[in-house]
């Protein structure tokens, strides 16, 4: 009976952990996407100071949540997000606006990818 109890407890704990993680990660990525959208809107309006500040917020949030993200998401993709956010943070030039918008769109896409990659789907299994 001990073997069965241990086995079922581990199975349950792992399943619960995965479900909780997917909910937590979705919420976290929603925060990042909201910040990216705000930066994107500011950049479109030519307000580079705000877009840079929002990019800075994204970097800080990534740094605060790094331990959790690195433990659960491929570190390569987190590094890509950091690079994109850093490029958006230093961009304060009107001539780089199109590049900035592209970077922010790509950053949003990366956050979306992280969010959806954790969604359970049979397509992803096979």
């Amino acid at each position: 009976m001990r073997g069965l109890a241990v086995s079922l407890s581990v199975l349950l704990a792992v399943t619960a952990g995965i479900v909780v993680h997917s909910i937590v990660l979705k919420g976290q990525m929603d925060d990042f996407i909201a910040l990216t959208d705000q930066a994107h809107e500011a950049a479109q309006a030519g307000d580079f100071a705000t877009s840079s500040a929002k990019a800075q917020e994204i970097l800080e949030l990534l740094s605060r949540r790094q331990a959790y993200l690195c433990a659960t998401v491929d570190y390569g993709i987190i590094q890509e997000c950091e690079v994109m956010a850093e490029r958006a943070r230093v961009c304060l030039d009107i001539e780089s606006k199109s590049n900035l918008l592209m970077d922010l769109a790509e950053l949003r896409q990366l956050f979306k990818t992280i969010q959806t990659s954790e969604n359970f789907s049979f397509d992803n299994i096979f």
Binding site: G3, L4, V6, S7, L8, V10, L11, V14, G17, I18, H21, C70, A71, T72, V73, D74, Y75, G76
Partner: protein
């Protein structure tokens, strides 16, 4: 490799080592040679997953820990179900198959097992059996080992065959190991430190620290090996 990465590898290796120790402890004590085929596969899978966790720093630790935990729980679950149901046990681990039955070679079974005559002869030679004619039964066990039973006329003589009654054998209990008394072994023997010191003195060994190994059997037999000086 930068210092940071080395540090990560260092910590990850320690974590994986501790985790595997815990995981294999849960799986139970079985010799590698005694593993069922499925248990062997699970063990190999776990070792592979552990290597990935140590080598690939970009991959989250959880990606290796989750499958290892799942494999162990499934293994435990299957083991439990196998214990409860004969049918499931037969399904999960198969059943022993006769290769030789009552001295007759079971060729169909050998074909099914893909077990050649060379394999059979090799197994028999390893057991110092030179001829098939000596074998009464040979059974391929579920863990891939061959159990061989000789015909009565080829079995070694035992005390029972000669109507002898040898005294019951008893295992000697280790009392001293590498200059230290194994106090946990003393209660069952009724011995004390004074008795040990006396036995050592009789053998010109000045004290416990000078003894490398000492055993006492239930009939009072004492074996002492003195410690050798460092070269």
């Amino acid at each position: 490799m930068s210092g940071d990465v080395m540090g990560i590898v260092f910590v990850r290796t320690i974590m994986i080592y501790m985790f595997l120790m815990f995981a294999l402890r849960i799986m139970g004590k079985r010799q590698l040679a005694d593993l069922q085929p499925m248990e062997l596969v699970v063990t190999l899978l776990i070792s592979d997953l552990a290597v990935i966790a140590i080598e690939d720093n970009y991959r989250p630790f959880a990606y290796s820990v989750i499958p290892i935990l799942l494999l162990i729980s499934l293994e435990l679950l299957v083991a439990h179900l196998s214990m409860k149901s004969v049918r499931l046990r037969s399904l999960f681990t198969g059943h022993p198959v006769y290769v030789i039955k009552n001295g007759v070679l079971q060729q169909n079974n050998m074909r099914r097992l893909r077990f050649t005559m060379e394999d059979l002869m090799e197994e028999l030679r390893q057991r110092q059996i030179s001829s098939l004619l000596q074998v009464q039964d040979a059974i391929m066990e579920t863990n891939g080992k061959l159990s061989v039973f000789l015909k009565p006329q080829n079995k070694p003589v035992t005390a029972a065959d000669l109507n002898l009654e040898p005294p019951p054998s008893a295992l000697p209990v280790p009392i001293i190991l590498d200059g230290k008394v194994l106090k946990e072994n003393l209660p069952g023997t009724g011995l004390d430190m004074e008795w040990i010191a006396e036995r050592l003195r009789e053998r010109n060994i000045p004290g416990v620290k000078a003894a490398f190994f000492m055993t006492v059997d239930p009939y009072g037999g004492v074996f002492v090996l003195p410690k050798e000086g460092k070269p």
